[in-house]
């Protein structure tokens, strides 16, 4: 009985990496699936088991562990981070002059992809729809940017130079050349935060003497689902915590080989009575390449698995918002979604009544 219990626990809690496939990938702990288990939803149990550990956090990226959570919800957070947390991005480009080699459309597309540092929470969505399309943006939903630059010959360049950096002035147009033009009271409201491109060194176009760009841009609030330029993250992903179990002691040459089968730092060799014995030190570092399963004499020595409810999240921000803010925003978005349908449900019921 104990043995089977252990077996069921494994099916419930571990994803097993086999030589020819991955087992137990799906969540199965639903009420009625396993006799002897109470799988009905219990908030207290969840709160007791749930845990978050922040591993790393800086202004552009973070890593944290989320334990005691189902993949369905963790994945929802990831998906929202990628596609549903709003940001500000250049949506309309008014080209007054473009004599550069870059085509207008390509230039507009390039401009659109530049991350714009502006807190989207302080802005509204612009109205979409037929009549709204002609509407001018206002201070609450639009940021105006300007790019006006002209390339010329460098009068101080030496005569025999062939280096464009020396020959020309302004021949490389970078994102730092984009200037913010406040509308309405924006200058006062955003006095302490500088609005403009996050990065200064994004190359937009190259010019040659005489060529110029004269462009006004409008940034609006949007979400990554509509266009990837609104996505607030460079990447947001999670992986399950790997678990490596050694079924028997591995010594000598075999241990060396075992060590090489995993990522560095996963397995270390210990000196036990003059023999080198393999020991799992940090399974977290493993990439789960399953290389060990290609060695016939090693594949039965280890058991590879992943903890079903332990998510290692990595969030890399584009720099518009700090990554921890993005995560909180993502959670709020999910809550808002729930709320939307709860409201709808209530109004439905009201109608029925």
């Amino acid at each position: 009985m104990a043995a089977t219990m252990k077996n069921v626990d494994e099916i419930r809690n571990r994803v097993i990496l086999g030589e020819f496939g991955v087992k137990n990938v799906h969540t199965s702990d639903f009420p009625g699936n396993y006799p002897g288990y109470d799988d009905a939803w219990d908030m207290h149990k969840f709160q007791k088991n749930f845990r978050i550990d922040v591993v790393h956090l800086d202004e552009s990226s973070m890593e944290f562990d989320m334990v005691g959570m189902d993949a369905a919800i963790a994945n929802a957070f990831r998906r929202i981070l990628l596609a549903e947390v709003p940001t500000m991005a250049i949506e309309k480009v008014f080209i007054y002059n473009n004599t550069s080699i870059v085509q207008d459309e390509v230039l507009a597309h390039r401009l659109g992809l530049i991350p714009i540092k502006a807190d989207p929470r302080l802005f509204e969505y612009r109205n979409t729809g037929e009549e709204a399309a002609e509407e001018e943006g206002s201070e609450i939903d639009t940021i105006q940017l300007q790019l006006k630059i002209k390339c010329s010959r460098n009068p101080r360049a030496s005569k025999d130079s062939s280096d464009p950096r020396e020959l020309y002035l302004n021949h490389m147009v970078y994102s730092k050349d984009i200037k913010w033009v406040p509308i309405g009271n924006q200058a006062d409201v955003f006095a302490d935060s500088i609005i403009g491109p996050v990065n200064d060194d994004i190359l937009i176009a190259q010019l040659r003497p005489g060529q110029e760009l004269d462009i006004i841009m409008h940034c609006v609030k949007g979400i990554g689902k509509d266009h990837a330029k609104f996505s607030p993250v460079a990447t947001a992903s999670y992986r399950l915590l790997p678990e490596i179990t050694l079924m028997e002691t591995v010594e000598g040459e075999k241990a060396e080989r075992l060590k090489r089968c995993f990522s560095q730092g996963v397995i270390e060799l210990e000196d036990v009575n003059g023999k080198k014995v393999a020991k799992v030190v940090n399974s977290r570092l493993d990439t789960c390449s399953r290389e060990v399963l290609r060695h016939d004499d090693l594949k039965n020595v280890v058991k590879l698995g992943r903890l079903r409810d332990h998510f290692i999240f990595t969030v890399e921000s584009t720099g518009i918002l700090p990554p921890d803010v993005l995560v909180t925003e993502a959670i709020k978005v999910l809550m808002a979604k729930c709320q939307r349908f709860l409201n709808e449900l209530d109004s439905d019921i009201n109608e029925v009544k």
Binding site: W41, V54, N75, N127, V327, K337, E344
Partner: protein, 114 residues
């Protein structure tokens, strides 16, 4: 986005003729796996639910069909409502925990500096 939601209802209920209240397909507009899968998980955790599943009708349509079948004549809206509130509660808890841990982490980071 917001404008459209006002015009069209975000939620529709489709019931087969003669079927009881316990077997309902909800149509959630402008939703996908993000809400669909997490809600399905929450609802399946309910004891009285016999079946819960969802499907994206076609990738070019932004809606999902969300099916709930209950046992013992329980109206299908009940588990849906419970699922949504549970999910909100879960999110709230996650949010609180996350913010707390982030603050802790930030404080810890600052300490060595001092």
């Amino acid at each position: 986005m917001a404008g459209e939601a006002e015009k069209k209802p975000a939620l529709e209920m489709v019931q087969a003729d003669g079927a009881d209240e316990g077997c309902v397909t909800f149509v959630l507009h402008d939703e996908d796996h993000t809400l669909g899968n997490s809600l399905r998980y929450m609802i399946m955790k309910t004891v009285d639910v016999e079946f819960c599943g969802y499907t994206i009708t076609h990738p070019s349509e932004s809606k999902i069909n969300f099916r709930i079948q209950t046992r013992g004549g329980l109206p299908a809206t009940e588990p849906l409502r419970r699922g949504l509130t549970d999910l909100t509660d879960v999110c709230q808890h996650v949010l609180n925990t996350f913010e707390a841990r982030v603050n802790e982490f930030k404080e810890k980071e600052e300490q060595p500096m001092e």
